[in-house]
């Protein structure tokens, strides 16, 4: 995957020196950090966050995007075509960056209500952004308008112009987490992990990591976090209103915890203010669920922090209101 230009200073991961940003993509020898979240749960419930926003393109979706593009490259399916993907932003951003590096055009169908910050980043990366109402297809796809639109683009023009990476059905999405995120967590916790927390979204993370961890130790409990219908937690999906992705494997999930927006955002604010963790709202949802789950439990727990807070400043401005402004 990594293409290195001739250099007197070649890539040296130990020195964190790279001749191509793609060499920064994580793996078991170059994992994203695990950071302890102190003071949110009893000391016996040792909660860590895996900071996926320290990936080169800013989120956990860097892994899936790289694996999906690599898969397409290996089969030659992408030759001469443009990419299309439905994404609430993070997958699209990673795909856009990787596509730009590969000289491939990308069209993104993005659900209504995604923060402006993400849409602007995508356009800066050269992607074409089609903002899509969730209820675009009230007849057949009541809450998945962006996915339906991406599918119709891929099928249009005889299927000759566009290729859909289709993160919701693409097994490379699962494989990325089975081969990287899962082994990283296992190694970083020295095999002591007892509980794993991740959100329902494309379900690549929870399926891939869950599958890997269960193979190491079937007693590890895998916990999925699901938002409520009508939520405002980008990246997460409520399957009460959206179709379950084909790659979701419920056999690796032990518990599902539903989280309301309000405690998710309150926890996000606490993570900023008490831990110095500049995280996105889905991290708040995951930590809130983990802390509730951890009452009366002990052992090492790992939650995913899918992305950072910089892409949600407009949401946070709504949350804060006048807070932090001069009171006179």
């Amino acid at each position: 995957m990594t293409i290195e230009a001739p250099s007197q200073l070649p890539t040296d991961r130990h020195l964190r020196r790279y001749t191509d940003i793609r060499a920064m993509l994580p793996d078991v020898d170059q994992p994203t950090p695990l950071v302890r979240v102190g003071g949110f749960a009893a000391p016996e419930f040792e909660l860590f966050l895996k900071l996926e926003w320290l990936n080169p393109f800013g989120s956990i979706k860097d892994r899936a995007a790289a694996y999906m593009l690599q898969g397409l490259g290996e089969t030659g399916a992408l030759d001469g075509k443009e990419l299309v993907e439905a994404s609430s932003g993070n997958t699209a951003i990673a795909l856009a960056a990787l596509a730009a590096l590969a000289g491939t055009r990308l069209t993104v169908t993005i659900p209504d209500g995604v923060p402006e910050e993400k849409k602007v980043l995508l356009r800066m990366l050269g992607a074409e952004v089609w903002e899509t109402p969730d209820d675009l297809c009230p007849v057949d796809n009541p809450r998945d308008g962006a996915i339906a639109l991406a599918r119709s683009l891929a099928a249009s023009e005889g299927g000759q112009r566009y290729l859909m990476t289709n993160q919701y059905e693409n097994e490379h999405n699962v494989r990325a987490h089975y081969e990287t995120t899962g082994p990283e967590i296992w190694r970083q916790t020295e095999g002591r992990i007892r509980y794993f927390f991740a959100g329902f979204g494309t379900c690549g993370t929870i399926t891939g990591v869950g599958r890997f961890l269960k193979e190491q130790d079937p007693s590890i409990e895998v916990v999925a976090i699901e938002p409520q219908p009508g939520h405002r937690l980008p990246g997460l999906k409520s399957f009460a209103e959206a179709k379950e992705p084909g790659i979701l494997d419920r056999s690796v999930i032990d518990h599902v915890i539903r989280v309301d927006d309000e405690p998710a955002y309150a926890t996000t604010k606490r993570l900023f203010r008490e831990q110095g963790l500049i995280v996105g709202p889905s991290t708040g949802a995951i930590v809130h669920a983990a802390v509730e789950f951890g009452v009366d439990r002990s052992g090492v727990a790992v939650g995913v922090s899918p992305d950072g807070g910089q892409k949600y400043t407009s949401y946070f401005a709504d949350l804060l209101g006048d807070e932090g402004l001069p009171a006179f």
Binding site: D135, V139, G145
Partner: protein, 85 residues
């Protein structure tokens, strides 16, 4: 299917979505309707059978009016008047 016709309608813009699968015609129609003024009329040509359900549903949601649907064999020709919303 219901076939209605409308006479003396001034078409403001025509959008040919022949060969495109739903919801692409609905999406493109929405983009064009957004830039039309209230009362102006979009002529939409679509070949996907799903458009017979999706286009009227879209118009209802947006507050627009389907003035006519003309079946022309494999194609359907919709005249949609933009509402006041």
């Amino acid at each position: 299917m219901t076939q209605t016709t409308s006479t003396q309608v001034q078409v403001t813009e025509t959008l040919d979505c022949s060969g495109l699968l739903c919801p692409l015609p609905v999406y493109k129609a929405g983009v064009v309707l957004n830039r039309l003024a209230s009362g102006e009329v979009l002529e939409l040509i679509a070949t996907d059978p799903g458009s017979l359900e999706d286009v009227p549903a879209m118009a209802r949601q947006r507050g627009d009016t389907v003035l006519s649907v003309i079946d022309e064999g494999t194609a359907h020709r919709f005249l949609i008047r933009k509402g006041t919303a």
